[in-house]
Amino acid sequence: MTDVSYLPATAPPPKAGPHGLPPSAAGSAATRSAAGETRANAAPAATTPTLEDPTGGRRSRGTRLSAPGWIRRLTGPAVLFAVWWAVTGTGLVGGRVLASPLAVARAFGDLAGDGELWNNLSVSLVRVGWGVLFGVAAGLVLAVLAGFFRAGEHIVDSSMNFLRTIPIIALLPLIIVWIGIGESAKIFLISAGVVFPVYMNTFAGIRGVDVKLVEAGRTFGLGRLGLIRRVIIPGALPGFLIGLRWSLGVAWLLLVFAEQVNTDRGIGYLLTSAQGWNRTDIIILCLVIYGLLGLLCDGIVRVLEGSLLSWRRGFSGT
């Protein structure tokens, strides 16, 4: 039966039509026109398909019991923590190689108790704060120059792309020669690292603003300033925020390097001296603090995004 489709066009019509239709039914369709007859005969009949259950029998049975999302997301860190606890608690790894969670907590208690932790942390926060402030400001100014003006692009963009490829840490000797080893050198190093992510993403954001929107703005009477204020800045904002997020990560990274050169305060100093004293509990405490600060910065940018980019999520706000 299914072989009908493979019959050559010149073959005589089969006794029974496809799917067991009586020949008369097939014939009546074919006799509508002489031309249609040969075409009707030539048209392949539908084959009988084999049927199957698309799920393959693997049906999901309604909703299973499941934990809330944040608990499931904490599973990974919890496992890591348990392994850490297990290997240090059982003595598999000695306390001088890796401090136990308990020892880290005790170190935190000691350092926080005599105010040393806060002293160092506040110094580091101030360094990062100034560094980010200067770096973001410089990155924004450069991106606006390169984004808005052709001449600015020619001058700024190629230089920035060249400088971007230089590892910032390699600038440290030069910075020391120029500025010395004081606070300003540390802030300068952080700023120099922060400039690039802010510049690159803001520039891309400005250039990524839809030309059609600029054209529409012009049609409806926006001048140059109006276009910048109503169209280009809001359009470049998502790119800037991505740059800001990147730059905060870079800032903490560079802080570690900056605080290893002639310092007597700061988280990086604490870290370096802990290495000298062979105190892995303090080292790990510093690492945890870095991690938490990174998370905090990310959270701040997230909140900024939430309020500045609410148009993306489509709040009607009523």
């Binding site: 059609k212 929107l213 054209e215 529409a216 703005g217 012009r218 049609t219 409806f220 009477g221 926006l222 109006g226 109503r230 169209v231 809001p234 359009g235 904002l237 980019l309 609410s310 148009w311 993306r312 489509g314 709040f315 009607s316 706000g317 009523t318």
Partner: protein
């Protein structure tokens, strides 16, 4: 100038002779888009009651000549539909009239107060519906005027909505409100309903007709859709080979019905002009 001021301050009064094209509006302020005034510049008396006047317009991109000696006049208050195949230069003409394209030869005059409705609504996504309507609007009571325009397109309750939350039809209605709040003498629409579903399009046709009846701007409506052109326009143009190959008034009695024989005759003629086999088209 006096006319413009007057129209700005007083609400456009509905006239009794609404069905006849070009009767409602008087002379309109024309702006030369070529930068120089030709022998028959804006001072010439023949631009009275005219919203668009194009003489010998030529536009080429390298070797390719898109518009080649095009002539076009649109009277004030007249609704003109412009048909043409893809790449025939419809959008180029619109961009020129909008003032976006300056690499042209010939004389082009268009009403000073003109606005555009694009195919995609082109609303600023970071600005709420009302802010989009009043974008760049000069003068006082901007918000109040924007609210009136939004109410006219039936979106009074969506003034605080972000564009992403609007449906395609709603977004295009906001774009219509944005065009109309400027009280334009000339509205150019570039395939404004092309991306909408068929049912929404029917509603938008009715809305556009109603708005045009009330405000009486001259309209240049660019479309692919022959039926749409016949339903809405006073006059239909076909653009081919850089000039207007056909310029016919729509003589179908209103309300215009597709079942009207005159409708079918004009439809066949336009389709033939566009190079489409009407038999295959009509078999739908």
């Amino acid at each position: 100038m006096a006319t413009r001021l007057q129209r700005y301050l007083s609400p456009p009064a509905p006239t009794s002779a609404q069905d006849e094209a070009g009767q409602a509006a008087g002379p309109t302020g024309l702006a030369s888009l070529t930068g120089h005034t030709g022998p028959a510049g804006p001072a010439g008396g023949d631009t009275d009651g005219v919203a668009v006047r194009v003489r010998g317009l030529r536009r080429s991109f390298g070797e390719r000549v898109v518009l080649d000696g095009l002539d076009l006049t649109i009277a004030a208050g007249e609704f003109v539909a412009l048909l043409g195949r893809s790449g025939s230069g419809k959008s180029t003409l619109l961009r020129i009239l909008g003032g976006f394209d300056t690499g042209i030869e010939g004389d082009v005059l268009a009403a000073t107060r003109r606005s555009v409705v694009f195919q995609e609504a082109r609303l600023l996504p970071w600005t709420r519906a009302l802010g989009n309507v009043t974008l760049g609007l000069p003068g006082k009571d901007v918000a109040a005027r924007g609210r009136v325009a939004l109410a006219e397109v039936g979106l009074a309750d969506r003034e605080r909505a972000w564009p992403v939350t609007l449906s395609g039809g709603e977004a295009q209605r906001v774009a219509l409100a944005r065009a109309l709040v400027r009280e334009p003498d000339l509205v150019m629409l570039d395939e404004p309903f092309g991306a909408l579903d068929a049912l929404t399009r029917i509603r938008m046709h009715a809305l556009l007709q109603e708005l045009c009846r009330r405000h009486r701007p001259a309209v240049l409506f660019v479309t692919h859709d022959v039926d749409e052109a016949i339903l809405l326009a006073d006059r239909v143009l076909v653009l081919a080979d850089g000039r207007l190959s056909l310029d016919v008034p729509v003589g179908v009695a209103s309300p215009r019905l597709r079942s009207d024989p005159a409708f079918a005759v004009l439809r066949s003629r336009l389709l033939a002009e566009l190079g489409v086999d009407d038999v295959a088209e009509g078999a739908r």
